[in-house]
């Protein structure tokens, strides 16, 4: 606990059902029920929240400044203290956590959402790549993940059947998650980009998630068993894919060290691995051993709403602590191609 100035916990988590399409809903219409649910879980009203931070990307639905529209769902007028990141909501959570650490807020609402259905997310994501050397080739997100998967296979760290097992386990676990998009067996299917088959890839869909953070005794009042963020850090790899060892994730390992992951065992790991091969990399970087429950929620292979799936990992890990199913969990979020940027958080429940 002494790592940081203030004790901060995730005190509530909510998420939408994650669906292939939500044409009947605008982004704010999709997000608002999730905001209401997460606030209801704490008994707080929107006006009582000290800081609000969201994560989203306008490129997904092709809607400029969509985050200003979703702010309507918070009740942001007259102006509240708020911010936005064009990133996964896990990074919005990081900003909110810093805000609480500075003492400027005691509570924070963090939410994020992605509506990928209006566009072609594989192509949309090419626009985040190096504009000089890479983006003009339009290498889609599955292609880049496949290059990483082949590197892992060449290195002897996995094979196609082991990768298929990752997807199968994730979707079997997702049967207990009513919000997941893919629940239960999914055919492994054809190669999307070899060596990755359909079953190795995340579903494309729309969804939203939200958490409430609170500091110290307030967290104890708002939540029977707060999920204390005892460590959090985020790191990034070198920009050029060709410079990286794609079979490893030094940035995840470094973030984990800084967050104190390795100081004690964890019982749960919620890993943001949209592709089965990326779970192999993350298990290695985080030193995940056999006894650890990895993605009991089903993970990103069962539901991968862009910009929300990382925040959901933190939310799912926290929810497991809230209900007493975990004592110490690691949550991970990623952004960019081939695990480009990684955030690692340690969540702990009070001893029972």
């Amino acid at each position: 606990m002494a790592r940081y100035a203030r004790e901060v916990a995730v005190v509530a988590f909510a998420q939408s059902d994650h669906l292939r399409r939500t044409d009947e809903l605008s982004e704010v219409e999709m997000v608002m029920p999730v905001l209401h649910r997460v606030l209801a879980a704490t008994g707080l009203k929107a006006g009582e929240i000290g800081f609000t931070c969201s994560g989203s990307s306008d490129y997904l639905a092709g809607r400029a400044f969509s985050f200003t529209m979703t702010l309507d769902g918070v009740g942001a007028w007259p102006p509240i203290s708020e911010s936005h990141v064009e990133m996964d909501g896990a990074w919005a959570l990081y900003e909110a956590w810093v805000k609480i650490q500075t003492g400027e807020a005691d509570t924070a609402l963090v939410y994020s959402y992605g509506k990928s259905s209006p566009g072609s997310v594989r192509d949309v994501l090419t626009r985040q790549l190096d504009p000089y050397y890479v983006a003009p080739l339009w290498p889609d997100s599955v292609a880049l993940a496949a290059l990483q998967a082949q590197a892992l296979i060449d290195a002897g760290e996995t094979d196609e059947s082991a990768l298929a097992a990752v997807g199968a386990r994730s979707r079997a676990d997702a049967e207990a998650n009513p919000h997941a998009q893919l629940r239960g067996p999914v055919p492994q299917g054809d190669y999307q980009v070899r060596p990755l088959r359909t079953g190795d890839c995340p579903p494309v869909g729309d969804g939203a998630a939200a958490v409430v953070l609170a500091a110290g005794d307030l967290a104890r009042q708002l939540c029977e068993r707060p999920a204390w963020i005892t460590g959090i850090d985020h790191r990034i790899e070198a920009h050029s894919l060709g410079l990286r060892d794609l079979t490893d994730s030094p940035s995840t390992r470094l973030a984990a060290e800084r967050a104190g992951v390795f100081e004690a065992p964890v019982d749960t790991a919620e890993l943001h691995a949209p592709f089965s091969s990326q779970e192999v990399v993350l298990r290695k970087a985080l030193g995940i051993t056999d006894g650890v429950a990895v993605n009991p929620s089903g993970g990103a292979l069962a539901a991968n709403p862009m910009m929300a799936a990382g925040l959901i990992r933190i939310g799912e890990a926290a929810a497991r602590i809230h209900r007493g199913a975990s004592q110490r969990a690691v949550a991970h979020a990623t952004s960019g191609p081939c695990l480009q940027q990684n955030l690692v958080a340690v969540l702990e429940g009070d001893p029972r």
Partner: protein
């Protein structure tokens, strides 16, 4: 690839195009100009590694790095991925392998496409060479792709001053993304009503403000606006401006007036063009009504109703 959407939902194609003009640093300029000239350049990092494609700053120390070297146009595949269904704008329109290639003399790998007959013809460690594009402009696509190569290697890095006549100093990064946009419940209802020449807003169940057009949520209360309320058709000009610059692709003579109009019953003003009155006679408080054109799905503009002007007190909260 998008799944079918329910037929009752409004949707429309949306094309987003953004051609960024990007300037190049000295290293990027030399690299891309070199490609135009059929030469592949790398840069030496602080610890002596040769980076291809080269960058302006050392990825480890962040030092400025400028020591250019020429590397081979032949190299070795470090990883690959077979792409059976090329997507629009990718380098080849027939099945190909994505590859990372470490060119001879380089220590890092370059991403590109490999033209090969099938996945069985590709493996990590295979030898490849650059296939140059027929027309080259100074862009990464001057490398059309790689192709399998059984000949001798290109040797080690050779110092190069990076000087070329008529160096490329920038690129235009074209991009186009295609969407099928759906406006959601509240805006669908609004647009559908408009096509019947009715303006229907939504009332906040908490503060009772009527939003026109509705966006589905009350930004003050943070709740869904669910009660539909027909407003107008007439309204009051709350403020306005005189537009003197002709907009591209807009067939309206300047000067014209663009105004905020509080429709009767609405809790906030929407905006529209004012016509049917000389531009210099439009004023705050002017009473206006919508003018619909044949087949139009929204008012073309608003014109004076002829009623007396509204009292300032009647609309001051809506400015």
């Amino acid at each position: 690839m998008t799944a079918a959407s329910p037929p009752e939902v409004l949707r429309a194609p949306l094309v987003v195009e953004f051609p960024f003009t990007r300037s190049l640093g000295p290293v990027q300029s030399a690299f891309l100009t070199g490609l135009r000239e059929g030469v592949v350049l790398g840069v030496k990092t602080s610890d002596g590694k040769v980076m291809v494609p080269p960058v302006e700053y050392d990825p480890v120390t962040a030092e400025e790095i400028r020591e250019l070297v020429e590397v081979g146009a032949t190299g070795t595949v470090t990883t690959w991925a077979w792409n059976d269904r090329p997507r629009p704008q990718q380098p080849l329109d027939t099945p190909f392998a994505w590859v990372l290639v470490k060119l001879d003399g380089a220590d890092t790998a370059l991403l590109h496409a490999l033209d090969a007959p099938g996945p069985d013809a590709v493996r990590t460690g295979m030898r490849v060479r650059v296939r140059w594009a027929a027309e080259r402009t100074g862009a990464i696509t001057d490398i059309a792709c790689f192709e399998p190569y059984g000949g001798p290697g290109g040797g080690g890095p050779v110092p190069h001053d990076g000087g070329f006549a008529d160096a490329v100093t920038g690129i235009v990064a074209e991009a186009r993304l295609d969407y099928v946009y759906s406006p959601g419940r509240a805006q669908t209802a609004y647009i559908n009503a408009l096509s019947e020449r009715r303006t229907v807003g939504e009332r906040c169940p908490s503060c009772h403000k009527v939003y026109v057009p509705p966006r589905g949520a009350c930004p003050t209360c943070g709740v869904a606006t669910t009660d539909q309320v027909e407003v107008g058709p007439a309204g009051t000009v709350t403020t306005y401006c005189i537009v003197n610059i002709k907009a591209k692709n807009l067939d309206i003579e300047v000067p014209y007036v663009y105004a905020h109009i509080a429709l009767d019953g609405a809790g906030l003003a929407l905006h529209g063009r004012i016509g049917g009155i000389p531009y210099d006679q439009v004023r705050m408080g002017l009473r206006v009504e919508p003018v619909w054109t044949e087949g139009g799905r929204h008012p073309d503009h608003y014109r004076p109703t002829g009623e007396p002007d509204a009292d300032y007190d009647a609309y001051k909260e809506l400015i």
